[in-house]
């Protein structure tokens, strides 16, 4: 068996009276690619955001490489460095150049020399085809380019896990592909990946495992073929019949 990298136990989260997560248990293995699908408002994004404590769960435990990070809230930035995250709205830093977006965290938190950080940033930019934009400000980038930048920004910290929260939902259709290609390459390179997505074909193609989250619980999980061809839970059947 490969090593476990993340485990959640009975994860619960409420927003006021609304129970968003009602107890999620999940074990993620190193190198695993997991897609999370399900209806809007079902708790997919909230679950993902709990994994790096952008949302603090109300109950339950989150283990990262064996450490309960709920007890590590003072050092949480150390753990977040190992957990890259990509957002629906890109959230690139508009007041910095593309290059500075990428080198900010490595130079500040890992004390890497500016020159070395820039060299690495350039090689990452080449990997996603943005090398000629290094000196530009993000306002000159398209949505797809911004999203590729935000992926590279996360990769610059050498994370062990990448979380993608609907990375293509805010993109124009013609830009979806360029972003999905980057995620696909990353997943194939062995990066542990969790993707919340509405791109069913993509989820089916890249995942080792698909989770269906609905009403705050994992109602069904399994390999993509099974989930997409013969789903068992009634919620999954209804959802897939609507989106496919």
């Amino acid at each position: 068996m490969t090593d476990e990298i993340i485990r959640t136990e009975n994860l619960k989260k409420n927003f006021g009276k609304l129970e968003v997560l009602k107890g999620i248990d999940l074990s993620v293995m190193k190198g695993e690619v997991i897609s999370i699908i399900g209806p809007s408002g079902g708790g997919k994004s909230t679950f993902l955001r709990c994994l790096n404590l952008l949302e603090i769960p109300d109950e339950g435990k989150i283990y990262f490489e064996g450490t309960d990070i709920m007890t590590q809230q003072k050092n949480i930035s150390k753990y977040r460095q190992k957990i890259g995250m990509v957002f629906q709205n890109f959230n690139v830093f508009p007041n910095m150049t593309v290059l500075d977006n990428i080198t900010l965290a490595p130079t500040l938190e890992k004390k890497i020399a500016k020159k070395d950080a820039e060299e690495e940033a350039m090689s990452l930019l080449i990997r996603v085809g943005l090398e000629d934009k290094a000196k530009e400000y993000p306002r000159k980038l398209s949505g797809g380019q911004k999203q590729r930048l935000s992926i590279v920004r996360a990769l610059a910290m050498h994370p062990d896990v990448m979380l993608f929260d609907e990375p293509t939902s805010a993109l124009d259709p013609e830009m979806v592909k360029e972003v999905l290609n980057v995620i696909r390459d990353l997943a194939k390179s062995g990066m542990t990946t969790l993707v919340v997505t509405h791109e069913m074909a993509f989820a089916r193609e890249i995942s080792d495992r698909v989770l269906f989250i609905c009403n705050g619980i994992i109602t069904e999980e399994g390999n993509p073929e099974t989930i997409f061809t013969c789903p068992q839970a009634p919620e999954t059947i209804r959802f897939l019949s609507q989106v496919l």
Binding site: L54, S77, M85, F87, N91, L104, A105, A154
Partner: protein, 219 residues
């Protein structure tokens, strides 16, 4: 008009001195008011409910009472509170700083809140410490939101220092009172002082517009 020129020629040293006092009072008020205001804003946005409440009461009281009353209050009250001697100028300066800090803290808080929530999340997600999130990502963006309002606040601070003349603290309005009581030329001396205030604030506002333009270069 003739009288004004004559008055200026006779008393320009007094006015210059007053202008010096005004500039000095304003600069100190703006500088320390901004520092204190930043501190209050951080308390106001912090995690502790008690400190948030304290900051809230501080701001509400200072915004809800007249500045002249506050000046009197500090002028009479402050020397009784501290074990060492205080000059009138020190009391008034403290009051001006405290008053400005309340307004400035609200400007800073609004500017920080106007930064997209996603920026906080992105900065945290790449593993920045809370201090670096604030100083490297949020504040540089907030400054652009803050600057226009802060510019207005600086200008009203300059005008606000004129109230110090009530306590004969050396500044422009006080020098006007001095000249007036020596010459009985009220309108003329008021005109001179008015022109000086106007020119000062006009230059100040133009300078701040320039600064603003430089800072918004990235968008």
């Amino acid at each position: 008009m003739e009288k004004i020129i004559r008055l200026w020629n006779m008393y320009y040293m007094t006015f210059w001195k007053g202008l010096g006092g005004t500039l000095w009072l304003s600069a100190l008020t703006v500088f320390f008011g901004t520092l204190l205001g930043m501190f209050v804003a951080l308390l106001h946005m912090g995690k502790s409910k008690i400190l948030r409440g304290v900051a809230d009461i501080y701001i509400e009281i200072l915004r809800g009472t007249p500045i002249l009353l506050q000046l009197y209050f500090f002028w009479i009250g402050l020397p009784k509170l501290v074990p060492f001697e205080l000059t009138d100028t020190q009391c008034i300066l403290t009051a001006l700083i405290v008053n400005a800090s309340a307004y400035i803290s609200e400007i800073i808080r609004a500017g920080i809140n106007a930064v997209d929530k996603g920026q906080w999340e992105a900065a945290r997600s790449i593993g920045l410490t809370e201090t670096n999130v604030m100083t490297r990502v949020i504040l540089p963006q907030a400054v652009k939101n803050i600057l226009p309002a802060l510019c207005n606040e600086f200008i009203s601070t300059v005008k606000g220092t004129s109230l110090a003349s009530v306590f004969f603290v050396g500044e422009l309005m006080t020098s006007q009172r001095t000249v007036q009581s020596a010459t009985f030329l009220a309108l003329e001396s008021l005109t001179i002082v008015g022109i000086i205030y106007f020119v000062l604030n006009f230059v100040l506002s133009k300078l701040l517009v320039l600064l603003e333009r430089r800072l918004t270069i990235s968008d």
